[in-house]
Symmetry: C2
Subunit: 528 residues, 2 copies
């Protein structure tokens, strides 16, 4: 591979000359493969191919889709050394992290394959006819979920594998039976090419239509905006910045046929630490918190960016401990120039506010790569409440510690926060009862509520909820991690009075798939 | 009751003098109770009370919510004679239909109560900790659905009970634990008052906060737009016109915090009749189709407004039969002046197109009330395809018969249609196999696919799907009828590492509610 072509339904295309290149964030050196924005015609071709593929794949069995997901996972594994090396060069995330992330990515694909083989995710519900009902017979009504249509997926900068070409959005859309057009992230386009290669091989081996997958490159918002406004696209999955997510949300709302945009746009992930916890185990907690803040150079949507404590001698000592630990760690390289510039800007806005102290860090690090000092900021509850901008996200190795005068102020700060992906409470076992109101409030604010733990390291399990009220996401009733993520790409259809031969297998009388169904109000997997 | 006050959290309010009155559609006589648009201050009070109520009701048990739904149903029954008489005077729908609709309304409330008592609707999923996992222990993650927040519900003109103050949207929002602010339909405001009275009594008897329900009156879009833009409102349920639904959708998308609008905006409900069916049982089918077209003066979102046949002697004879039957029935009174005016306008647009024939009807009827002739229109497939406007809805006792030259044209007409609530096929048993592609296409176009049946008379069962792709609705993945309608008003929350005592009952280790849960990948209702 020597050129930065788009992959459009199995064919390579690059209609305009290269305008951008991969950049090594450790050295700021440019790669040799030139990429360019997909043209309108290229976007059209990818979307039309997706629509055509959907006419075929929408009737594929769950088992066939599961085999394809497994095939993609195997192909990724067969290319993994190359993928990890390339991604490391493009993102500076390091081999250990990338090895783990690759395992998460193949694990997600296989977990969805498992969900499909079990089969009950289609939510089959059957209400039988009552021919003798008066005044009119009751009709037989059966309902299940079907794929919604072609999906546009936007790769994230901070997860070159797990939220990119074959990440969670793509895996869950494919699991639903939906073709995917991926907009690659310009921060790791060469990595994206390797994944496109793997997918193309898997599609061919599986006998799937080539239009089930396309990969388009682009910088800026234009390619993405055109993609979500294409009439063939039915749904959008996005992980990234608030600005990017809202641009797509608005573009989608302006279509003749509006479509849902599932955008995960980040969070400051408030963390509350009780006075008693500070007294009992402040030092151990400080170590855990610093690990979470600095993990992946803080480039996680779930980074604990806002920590609330009651002002006390222990709280001040905790601030000191955090600052010491944070400044003792070597600054890590950030993903790209945009992340560094964005971080400088958000830190400048925050530190320009009254009563915000830079405890440590606060500046770009004097390194060849894109590097920012590990940073601890401090303020008090009153000033935080007076300046809503202090709730902004600093995407990087940064946390803001807020010392509140009392419990009331603490609750006011929490109540003032907008929607969050996560919220965490560190408390002692005997404080549980008095924290019920805090937890009740956090449940309204966040998609995931954590007790004595840290928000980073999102478990990829069936029960995971990675989402939350706006502005954390545009769709608080959905998740982008965990097996229920597939629900974003399914829509229900009811069948009335349909002969058994014309019903999908999931709804046939004798339950040939052996799945769980709600039959006349009772959950059962009876067959025959 | 002598005034047309708004009901704001149990208190009556009417800040501005009356500007509109109920109108009897049979006589065009105005009622004596004067209503006015809710003011900004009144909207604020209703929304603030809903937000306050939510702080209380969001922790109510499913059992407590179920008791409230039952209490509302009982109150409605105790006022039912008055409700039916008032609604008949305001809508001319007749006592028999309204008696049935009242039963449906109380039935819906009780069906949701049943869903709550069974309890599994919260979708509990548990993935246990794996303390020995390497490199890091797996955290305990548990997920369930919680209420999303205050809901704005817009009453529909054509279902004064079942899609109005205590209709399906309200019942499902309450079932979720969400307070509701209803915008009454100005076509039946006195009926709305009686329901508000019943709800207020039930709230008081049940010890619920008064802000769990408010009723606001208004004409035009202003009250509704302000209501959906109020920051306390989290979700919107709407049934009505395309114009009304899209106005609310756009108003919601422009908020600082965008919110979902679940708008059901109607449909032409394509009905396909095979040549063999026309030959075998054309006359019986004609009788059934005419009954469906004229039911409730055709004022149903599921009215079969577009019928496709292959051109043949039998098809022409079928058109003749339909026209004879339709013109032999006495025209019924429409709901209000706006419906009549809208129907005149849409019929004029359609009959003004080339190659559309008025087979019978097509004019307002010469009656004292709001009345339109029972109408049959006819065109051919080629002209239908050439004029996309012919797919418009005629909300009233009207159907358009399209005679296609061959099977290909038939498929092109179907493929050209936008999203629909329903699609029906009338075929003979031995035609099933050759209709698979037709049914596959209809599944993409509609929320409900019907075999040898009619789309009106929506069964209120668990499995029902009343929704469909845009422009039938703004949210094809949801339904406004059937028990899964509650999902629109719930959002998931995951709990990480949470002590059992702090978990909601649905997620506690010993399953005190005895509900179905997915525990480590297996569906079970094991307790203890």
């Amino acid at each position: 591979m020597t050129h930065g072509e788009h992959w459009i339904a199995g064919k390579l295309s690059q209609q305009v000359p290269a305008t951008f290149y991969s950049v090594n964030p450790r050295t700021r050196e440019q790669g040799s493969i030139g990429f360019s924005d997909a043209t309108g015609a290229e976007i059209d071709r990818a979307c039309a191919a997706a629509r055509e593929a959907f006419a075929v794949t929408r009737t594929y069995s769950a088992a066939r889709l599961a085999d394809f997901l497994d095939a993609v996972a195997a192909k990724i594994e067969s290319h993994k050394d190359d993928m990890i090396a390339t991604a490391d060069r493009e993102t500076a995330l390091g081999e250990a992290r990338l090895t783990g992330e690759l395992g998460r990515t193949t694990g997600q694909l296989r977990a969805f394959a498992g969900l499909l083989r079990e089969g009950s995710y289609v939510g089959a519900i059957i209400d039988s006819a009552l021919p003798d009902r008066k005044p009119a017979p009751r009709q037989d009504i059966r309902r299940m979920l079907h794929p919604i249509g072609p999906v546009a997926v936007f790769a994230a900068s901070n997860f070159p594998f797990a939220f990119s070409v074959c990440g969670g959005d793509t895996a869950s859309a494919w699991a639903a039976g939906c073709p995917v057009v991926v907009k690659a992230h310009p921060g790791h386009p060469e990595t994206a090419q390797l994944f496109a290669q793997a997918v193309t091989e898997a599609l061919s081996d599986s006998g799937f239509p080539a239009g089930f997958f396309s990969l388009l490159h682009g910088t800026g918002y234009e390619v993405g905006t055109r993609l979500v406004q294409h009439e063939a696209i039915s749904t959008v999955g996005f992980t990234g910045s608030f600005g990017g997510g809202m641009a797509l949300y608005k573009a989608a709302a302006q279509r003749h046929q509006p479509i849902p945009v599932y955008a995960e746009m980040g969070s400051v992930n408030p963390t509350i630490i009780t006075q008693k916890t500070l007294e009992t185990r402040g030092e151990a907690l400080a170590e855990g918190l610093v690990n979470s803040v600095l993990l992946g150079a803080g480039q996680f949507c779930t980074n604990p960016g806002l920590v609330l404590m009651q002002d006390s001698a222990e709280a001040r000592s905790f601030v000191h401990m955090i600052a010491e630990k944070v400044s003792a760690r070597t600054p890590q390289v950030l993903l790209n120039a945009q992340i560094l510039a964005g971080l400088e800007k958000s830190i400048a806005l925050t530190t320009g506010a009254s009563a915000v102290t830079v405890v440590t860090g606060g500046q770009p690090a004097n390194e060849p790569g894109y590097c920012f000092q590990n940073t601890v900021l401090q303020t008090n509850g009153r000033d935080f409440l007076a300046q809503p901008g202090l709730a902004r996200e600093h995407f990087g190795p940064v946390t803001l510690l807020v010392l509140c005068s009392d419990r009331d102020e603490w609750m006011h700060v929490l109540a003032a926060l907008e929607g969050q992906l996560t919220a965490s409470v560190h408390g002692e076992p005997d404080e549980a009862v008095e924290l019920v109101d805090v937890l009740g409030l956090l449940r309204e604010k966040a998609g995931r509520v954590i007790w004595n733990g840290f928000p980073t390291g999102v478990e990829v399990v069936y029960a995971q909820q990675h989402g939350g009220p706006f502005p954390a996401t545009t769709a608080p009733a959905t998740t982008s991690v965990g097996l229920t993520a597939v629900a974003r790409f399914l829509r229900p259809v009811a069948y009335q009075n349909m002969p058994d031969a014309l019903l999908p297998d999931a709804l046939k009388m004798n339950n040939p798939l052996g799945i769980w169904r709600i039959v006349n109000g009772e959950l059962t997997r009876a067959t025959g």
